[in-house]
Amino acid sequence: MQRIGVFVCHCGSNIAATVDVKKVVEMALLEPGVVHAEDYQYMCSEAGQAKIAAAIREKHLTGIVVCSCSPRMHETTFRKAAERAGLNPYMVEIANIREHCSWIHKDMEEATKKAVILARAAIAKVNLNTPLKPGESRVTKRALVIGGGIAGIQTALDIADAGYEVDIVEKTPSIGGRMSQLDKTFPTLDCSACILTPKMVEAAAHEKIKIYTYSEVEKVSGFVGDFTVDIRKKARSVDMDKCTGCGVCQEKCPSRKTPSEFNRGLNTRSAIYTPFAQAIPNVPVIDREHCIKFQTGKCGVCAKVCQAGAIDYGQKDEIVTEKYGAIVVATGFDTIKLDNYDEYAYSQSKDVITSLELERIMNAAGPTKGHLERLSDGKAPKEMVFIQCVGSRCSDNRGKSYCSKICCMYTAKHAMLIRDKYPDVNVTVFYIDVRTPGKNFDEFYRRAVEQYGVNYIKGQVGKVAPQPDGRLLVQASDLLDNRQIKMEADMVVLATAIEPNPDVRKIATMLTASIDTNNFLTEAHAKLRPVESPTAGIFLSGVCQGPKDIPETVEQAGAAAVKAIGLLAKDKLLTNPCTAQSDILLCNGCSTCANVCPYGAITYEDKEVNDHGIRETRRVAVVNSALCQGCGACTVACPSGAMDLQGFSNRQIIAEVDAICR
C-alpha cells in the first residue's frame, strides 16, 4: 500500500474562490492510501514546495497528488520538488482543479464536488504508480546531413564550426544543389554562383566536414544519439585521389549526346563529366549508361588521355557504415512534371520553358552563353509572357494544393533582368495574386512594375497555342478590365510549382520521420518546433519541410544546425521512462504491435522464458525504450495485454475511470 500525500493549492483565489479547498483536503483523507493532506496558498512557490518536501520526509510518503493547475504548467516543478525530497519524480500526479474545474465552473458546491472527484482519480492512479527511472543513452558526436544544396552546406558549416564532425551525403556528383543552377538571386540580384561557391569551397576545405558526393543513404538504424547509417558510394569510375581536375577527359570524350542535368536538358554533356565548372569535388564521374566503353567495351579514350591515370573502369559501388548522433534532412526540391498541363504547350514548343530553364538560359555558363534567345530558332524574343501559379494552388489533383512561395519573386527578378538587359523586349506577367511578404520584397516587385515597365495582368492564362509561324498564341483573361486577351508571344515562361525531391519519401521511411501528403517532411510543432521532426534526433533543413526561398532556407539551415548541436553537446541522453513494455510471459509474438509503432521501436527476439516452470524459447516483442516515445498505440493493438505503457498503464487508467464513475 502506498503512503500518499495530497496537496491542495489555492492558487491565490484562482482555485480557492470557487473550490472549497478545505473540503477537498477533508475528502482526500478518506481515500485509500492517503496519509496526509493539506492546502496552501501557492503550492508552486518555494514555501509550498518546502511543505511538500517536509511532508514527504516526515510522513514517509511514497506518492503525492498535487491538486493545482494543469500538469502542463507545473508537473515538472512538483516532480523536481519531490525528487529533491528523495521521492521518485514519477510518483507525482497532478489533479487539474484549475483549468479543468475552478476556472470553468461558477457554482462552489459543484466545483468542489468535481475537484474532489478529480483528486480521487489522481489518488487512485498514484496508488498504482511505480517508481520510474529514465534510461540513458550515449550520443555519437557526429552529424549526418542528407543533401548538399545550400541548406545542407549551411547546416554542415554551422555544425562543423561548433566543433562537431559532419558528413554530407549528396546524390549528384557535386554539392551545390539548386542554388548552383540559378543565375541571380532576389531581392538583391547577387550572382548566385558568386555567393554560393565560397560556401562550397569552405565546406570542402573544413577539417570537420567530410563530403560524400555521388552517394546515397542506403539504410538507417538506431535512434536519437546513436544512428547507424549505410552510405552507398556509387562507382565514380574515377580515382578521387589521383584526379587533378584538368578536364581533358571531358573534352576528348566522344560520347556527347547525353542531356545535361545541370542545364535542365537544354543542351548535352559528355559521358564523363562534372556537372558544372565550379563543381566540388572537381572530379568527374563516368555516366556508365552513356559511356561507350561501358556500353560496347570499345573506347577508353578518357583513360588514354588522363595524365594522372585516374580513370578506373573497374571501380565498384562501396558501402560505408558510419555512426551519427543527429541527422539533418536537406533534400530540397525539384519542379513538377508538366504532363498534366497540356494547355500550356510545354511539350509542343521549345519556346515554352520553365523558370528554372530560363535561369540556365540567362546564365553565362548556360546553353546559350547567357543570351536570351528562343531555343527553337535562336532568334531574340520581342514579346515574353510569364505565367504564374502553374501547378501551384491547385485543388484538382493535377497540381499541388500549396503556394510554391518563390515564384512571384523570381518572376519579378526575371522580368526585371530581361527589361534591364533587353529594353526592347515586352514582358507581360499573368498572375492570380502577387505575394511578396519579406524584407524588401514588395519594393522589389514594385520596381519591376514602376521602374522597368513590366506589364502585370491579373488573370490566369487559359491556353498557349503554337502558331504556324512559330510564335505562341496566348489566351488569357484580364480580370480587372474584364476582357479576354489574345496575344502573340515569342517565349512563354511557366512559373512551375516546386515539389519535394521525390527521393525524400524513401528517406523519410528509413528515418521513420513523418511526411505529409505533399511529401514535405512534417515538423514536430508548426510554430514552436519548426526544424525538428517528431522523430527524435532528426532535423529538417530547407525546402524538404516546405517551400522556402534562399534567405529562409539559410535561416532554417542554421536553426537545424543549432538543434543538432544542442543534441551533440550532450554526453548522455535521458530517455522518457513512460515507454511501452512487454510482459514476456504474456506476449504471443504475433507482431501486431510492431505494425502500429510509428518509431520502429519494437523488434522480436527469440528469448528463453520460464513460464511457471516451463522453460522454452519464445518469439517475443522487445521495446527499445530509447526509440519508444510512449504513445501507447501498441498497448491497444496487443491482443494479449502483454504490452503496457509505463506511467499510463491499463490498470492506472482503469483506476481513474473507476474513481470518476464511482
Binding site: L585, N588, S640, G641, D644, R651
Partner: protein, 324 residues
C-alpha cells in the same frame, strides 16, 4: 475417407510426419473429437465425416512446439485460420504437413434434434464419399430422415468457398454449400430499434454461463494467457469474476479478434447455450468491409490487417450515427 486414411498411413509410415492431427470417433455417432494419432493402431479410430466441424488449426500452435512434423487435416475454411495464425507467427509452417480435405458442409446435431429427432443410435449419409441429399437416422423410436441441407451448420450456408488457402496436398472433393447471405442476420439486427436490439442481445447473452468454450475453441483467441485470466488488466478471472467482464466479455472478445477473425464460426458451434456469438464477429467484418474495403482474414497473409492500418481519408466515428 479411405483414400485419406491410406495417404495418412503412408506419410506416418515413411516418417514424413511424426503424428497426425485429425478427428477420432466420439462416444456418440455425432460427436467426433479432435485427436492426435501417432501410430498405425491409433488410426483405427480416425474418422472424417459431416460431423467433423472442429477447426484443427488452433491445435497447430501446440503441435508447432513438438518434435517433428505434424500432419493436419484442414477443411477449406480451416485454412483461413491456419493462415491467420501463420501471419501472427503462432504456427510454424515447417512443422505442418497440411492435407486439405474436401468439405460438403458440416452438420449441426442441434438442428437435427430440433426437428424432433431424438434417441439417436446411428446416422448414415454423413460420410463425405457420397453426395448425400439426406441423412438416415436410426433412433430408438425407429428410422428417421432429414435433408442434409437442413442439418447443416449455419456457417456452411454462408461458406466463404471451398478453396483451400494453404496446403501440401488435397484429398477429397468439396461441394458448394453457400445458399444464404452472410450478413443477412447482421442486417436484420441493424434494422431494429435500439430497444429491440438491446432486448435481443440481452436475451441471448443472459444465457451465457461463462464456460469459456467459445474462447477456448477460437483460433484467433490464441493468447498464451487471456486478458480475462490475467491480473494485469484488472479484469479478474472466472473464479472471482467481477461484473465488468461478466457483462462485457463477449464484446471485448469480439473486439480483440476484430480484423483477425476469419469467421470460422466455431464460437457459435461450440456454445452449449446456443448463443449466436458469430454475430458480433460478423458485425465487425461487415463494418470493416464497408468502411475500409473488403477484407478476409487469413486470405492474404501479407495484407495489412484493418486495425493496424489506416488511410488518411478513413470515415470519422460519427458515421455510426449518420448512417442510421
Amino acid at each position: 475417407m479411405q483414400k485419406l486414411i491410406d495417404r495418412i498411413r503412408e506419410l506416418l509410415a515413411d516418417g514424413t510426419v511424426a503424428r497426425v492431427l485429425g478427428w477420432r470417433t466420439g462416444d456418440l455417432p455425432y460427436n467426433p473429437e479432435p485427436a492426435y494419432f501417432e501410430c498405425e493402431e491409433e488410426l483405427q479410430d480416425f474418422v472424417y465425416n459431416g460431423f467433423c466441424g472442429a477447426n484443427l488449426s488452433k491445435y497447430m500452435i501446440e503441435a508447432s512446439r513438438l518434435e517433428g512434423k505434424t500432419l493436419v487435416c484442414l477443411k477449406p475454411c480451416d485454412t483461413y485460420s491456419f493462415n491467420q495464425l501463420l501471419k501472427e507467427h503462432r504456427v510454424d509452417r515447417e512443422k505442418a504437413y497440411i492435407i486439405g480435405v474436401g468439405c460438403k458442409g458440416k452438420l449441426d446435431i442441434e438442428k437435427i434434434k430440433k426437428q424432433g429427432i431424438k434417441g439417436i443410435e446411428s446416422i448414415s449419409g454423413a460420410e463425405i464419399e457420397e453426395a448425400a441429399e439426406s441423412l438416415t437416422i436410426q433412433t430408438i423410436y425407429g428410422e428417421k430422415t432429414c435433408a442434409y441441407k437442413d442439418a447443416m451448420l449455419e456457417r456452411c450456408h454462408v461458406c466463404k468457398g471451398k478453396e483451400h488457402q494453404i496446403y501440401d496436398e488435397l484429398i477429397g472433393d468439396s461441394s458448394d454449400t453457400t445458399d444464404a447471405d452472410r450478413f443477412a442476420q447482421v442486417r436484420r439486427i441493424e434494422a431494429m430499434s435500439p430497444q429491440e436490439k438491446f432486448a435481443f442481445f440481452q436475451n441471448e447473452l443472459s444465457k451465457c454461463i461463462r464456460c469459456n468454450a467459445c474462447r477456448n475453441v477460437c483460433p484467433a483467441c490464441s493468447c498464451r494467457k487471456c486478458v480475462f485470466d490475467s491480473t494485469k488488466f484488472d479484469s479478474s478471472q472466472k473464479a472471482n469474476a467481477d461484473s465488468f467482464e461478466e457483462k462485457m466479455f463477449h464484446i471485448i472478445r469480439a473486439f480483440h479478434v476484430a480484423g483477425r477473425c476469419t469467421d470460422c464460426g466455431e464460437c457459435s458451434r461450440v456454445c452449449p447455450q446456443g448463443i449466436p456469438l458469430h454475430l458480433f464477429n460478423r458485425k465487425f467484418i461487415k463494418d470493416i468491409n464497408e468502411l475500409y474495403g473488403e477484407y478476409q482474414a487469413g486470405e492474404d497473409i501479407t495484407a495489412d490487417t484493418p486495425l493496424t492500418h489506416f488511410t488518411f481519408g478513413d470515415a470519422e466515428p460519427s458515421i455510426v450515427g449518420e448512417r442510421g
